[in-house]
């Protein structure tokens, strides 16, 4: 009966790529790459690619999950706004992230008005339908979601909408990559860059990787695209010559999406931002520029502005080290015991794209806990 289940073409084609990768690794020796983006992490697990990686190639997950890098203090602020009576809209993943005292989901359970949105644009009808209430959009994400927030804010401004503001937690990817290149103890030979961020931001922002002697390749989220990029990364490392190439079924313009970039430049300005576990990274955040400052929920509701102090709380949560590739999930003392998807201690377990969540859901060794 087993013969009926072979998937034929895809499996054979993938096996050929796997052999190519093995061949390239024989020349380069053992290598470690980091996939920066959470969507890559999930794809690598879900597609079963991880189970097919040849010996000598290690993949670490990086800080590219917007939920995971959200600091506790930022969740606290959103909860504060919801409990002040604002209608808070945010992306679904943010609902379960624990702040210092509970999550937005728990705040909703206590009666606060928190709604899930799939796009920033949904804040506009929410504001229209609730003219007597203050609506706050909790804006999270990298270059992929920031343009949507910018487009929404432009409509807020031109439409004279007064009851909608934004708690802006947007971050950008290149500055954190620069930090990762110099994290002591982190041995990474190259980076797998996310196709969707690069489509918007362009490849220019990653030129420093080659200078730092790191291989880099852009890939879409299909396992074939990821595999092709891995082969390229190994070859770059073996040859010691670095040039970013893209492995996507859709073309990535090298300069990025200029419309989105212009929109972002109009609405946002760079600021220092606090990354969970990584601390304050200069120039890695986006805040509302002067023409849009009045839509900033921080100012509007008199909340403490700017990044708070780095977390002093010590509860054993190692999300910071996980996010910077210094630890893998099973090396964290809480993982699978005090920290599970049902009772997450840190954001890496909460998010559907978080490293710990992906390990927990898809990894063979971990699934064996049910035995």
């Amino acid at each position: 009966m087993s013969g009926r289940f072979t998937s034929g073409g895809a499996e054979a084609a993938f096996e050929a790529m796997r052999r190519e990768l093995e061949e390239a690794l024989r020349l380069s020796g053992p290598l470690t790459f980091m996939e920066v983006c959470g969507t890559h992490t999930v794809s690598i697990f879900r597609s079963g690619l991880r189970s097919l990686l040849p010996r000598g190639l290690s993949l670490l997950s990086g800080p590219g999950c917007p939920v995971c890098v959200t600091d506790r203090s930022e969740i606290d602020r959103a909860i504060e706004l919801a409990e002040k009576g604002c209608l808070v809209l945010t992306y679904g993943d943010m609902m379960r992230v624990p702040g210092t005292s509970g999550s937005l989901l728990e705040a909703r359970g206590r009666g606060a008005d928190v709604e899930v949105a799939t796009s920033a644009i949904q804040a506009l009808p929410a504001a229209r339908e609730n003219p007597d209430r203050d609506v706050v959009f909790l804006a999270v994400g990298f270059e992929t979601t920031a343009p949507a927030t910018a487009a929404m804010l432009r409509q807020v401004r031109s439409g004279g909408i007064r009851n909608l503001s934004v708690l802006c937690l947007h971050k950008t990817v290149p500055p954190v990559m620069r930090v990762l290149c110099s994290v002591p103890g982190l041995k990474v030979d190259g980076f797998l860059l996310p196709g969707n961020v690069t489509v918007v931001a362009g490849e220019g922002g990653y030129a420093f990787l080659a200078e730092a002697g790191k291989a880099a390749a852009v890939a879409g989220f299909e396992p074939e695209e990821i595999m092709a990029a891995l082969v390229d990364l190994v070859r770059q490392a073996a040859a010691g010559s670095y040039r970013i190439r893209a492995y996507r079924t859709r073309d990535v313009p090298r300069e990025g999406n200029t419309t989105a970039l212009r929109l972002m430049a109009e609405v946002f300005e760079p600021c220092d931002a606090l990354w969970r576990g990584l601390g304050l990274i200069p120039g890695s955040g986006l805040r509302l520029g002067k023409d849009y400052a009045r839509f900033d929920a921080l100012g509007k509701f008199g909340l403490k502005s700017g990044a708070g102090p780095a977390e002093a709380r010590d509860d054993g949560c190692q999300c910071g080290k996980i996010l910077s590739g210094l630890l893998t999930p099973p090396e964290c003392g809480l993982y699978g015991r005090a920290c599970t998807p049902l009772n997450p201690a840190g954001p890496c377990m909460v998010s559907s794209e978080g490293t710990c969540g992906a390990w927990y859901r898809f990894n063979r060794q971990e699934a064996e806990r049910w035995q």
């Binding site: 009926r4 189970s51 679904g92 359970g109 899930v116 559907s352």
Partner: protein
């Protein structure tokens, strides 16, 4: 488990399991005293979609076959939105309870219906939902036997909550239950999973998916031809928690593992598109007209042919099998030839960021 209940407790995965066990533990000997000594019945109560009882002798089944001939199930419906492409809460309430009987080889015959109505509901809207409930009942030849209505103050309910209890007669010669699963059994899925959940998610999050309709339908006509197969072990409809949850529950309830073949699982393009956007996995989205059946391998091919006779099940396929490796776990052989595990969803499904 402590503090306030969350929506996750209602989503059919691990949290729901904990909640159900918590409630059951309070009944102890008080639930069906005459049957509580029967280990089969205990297991069925936890695992199966409906119970077999014998009201005549006040017990839960005769000793010889491990179950009475009368089948009973109950289900509450609080779907949002009330109207969705392919159905509404009225149709869903009838199909949902009736299907719980069908998957245990019982023909649904009677329905008890309870309505909790929020003050202010337009009577024309109620008429419409009751018309579609009546239409579904008529199609399935299920007679309304008992009913109740309550109207609660505005805000105390969301327009309309419906609870239905289906009562029927066991037709299958042997009792279908999870404990029948054997090494090598083929797992047959009746149609592409997740269409109901995807249609609701699309409506909830304002996505335009013109071709996507809920699979909400009565399963009895499609499943009853399978009952003549002696190798039919058990069936489940993949409602709350989806196919993934059913697979995990079957694996955890048996000493066996499950192997699923990704490329054999029927897929619906529109469902896949909605899942792509929202970051959902069709494996965990609810279906309301999709069943998983386990059957002895030598009868799998014939079963498949019988199932495909139904227009609902044209895409039916063998998607995996029970195996002795990795006991109590569900593994998936992926399209590219890799392997990964399938876990139960942890709580409320929430759309991801990017």
């Amino acid at each position: 488990m402590s503090g306030a209940l969350s929506l996750g407790h209602g989503s059919g995965g691990r949290l729901t399991q904990q909640l159900t066990q918590r409630i059951l533990s309070r009944f102890g000997e008080a639930r069906f005293p005459s049957a509580s000594r029967r280990p089969d019945f205990q297991a069925d109560f936890q695992m199966e979609d409906c119970a077999f009882i014998d009201a005549g002798c006040g017990a839960c089944g005769s000793e010889d076959d491990g179950g009475g001939k009368t089948a009973v199930s109950i289900d509450g419906f609080t779907v949002f939105p009330h109207d969705f492409p392919g159905g509404d809460i009225g149709k869903l309430a009838v199909c949902g309870s009736a299907n719980d009987l069908a998957v245990r080889g019982a023909e649904p015959l009677f329905l008890a219906l309870s309505l909790i109505i929020e003050e202010g509901l337009d009577v024309a809207v109620l008429d419409r939902y009751m018309d579609s409930a009546a239409q579904a009942a008529g199609e399935g030849r299920v007679a309304l036997a008992a009913g109740d209505t309550k109207v609660v103050p505005r805000g105390a309910a969301d327009k309309l909550f419906i609870t239905t209890c289906a009562i029927g007669r066991r037709v299958s010669p042997h009792v279908l239950r999870t404990s029948n699963l054997r090494d090598g059994d083929a797992l047959i899925l009746s149609t592409a999973p997740g269409r109901h959940g995807a249609a609701l998610a699309a409506a909830r999050f304002g996505l335009d998916a013109p071709g996507l309709t809920s699979d909400c339908a009565l399963l009895w006509p499609a499943l009853s031809p399978l009952l003549r197969f002696s190798g039919l072990r058990c069936m489940r409809d993949c409602t709350r928690g989806g196919l993934g949850t059913v697979l995990c529950e079957w694996a955890e309830a048996s000493p066996l593992g499950i192997e699923v073949y990704e490329t054999s699982v029927p897929a619906d393009t529109e469902t896949a598109a909605v899942c792509d956007i929202l970051g959902f996995d069709p494996l965990y989205l609810a279906s309301e007209g999709c069943a998983l059946a386990a059957v002895a391998p030598e009868q799998a091919e014939e079963c498949l042919v019988a199932l495909r006779e139904s227009p609902l099940c044209r895409d039916a396929a063998v998607i995996g099998r029970m195996i002795s490796e990795h006991p109590r776990m569900v593994g998936m052989r992926t399209r590219i030839g890799g392997m990964r595990f399938v876990d139960m969803p942890a709580g409320e499904l929430l759309p991801r960021i990017c």
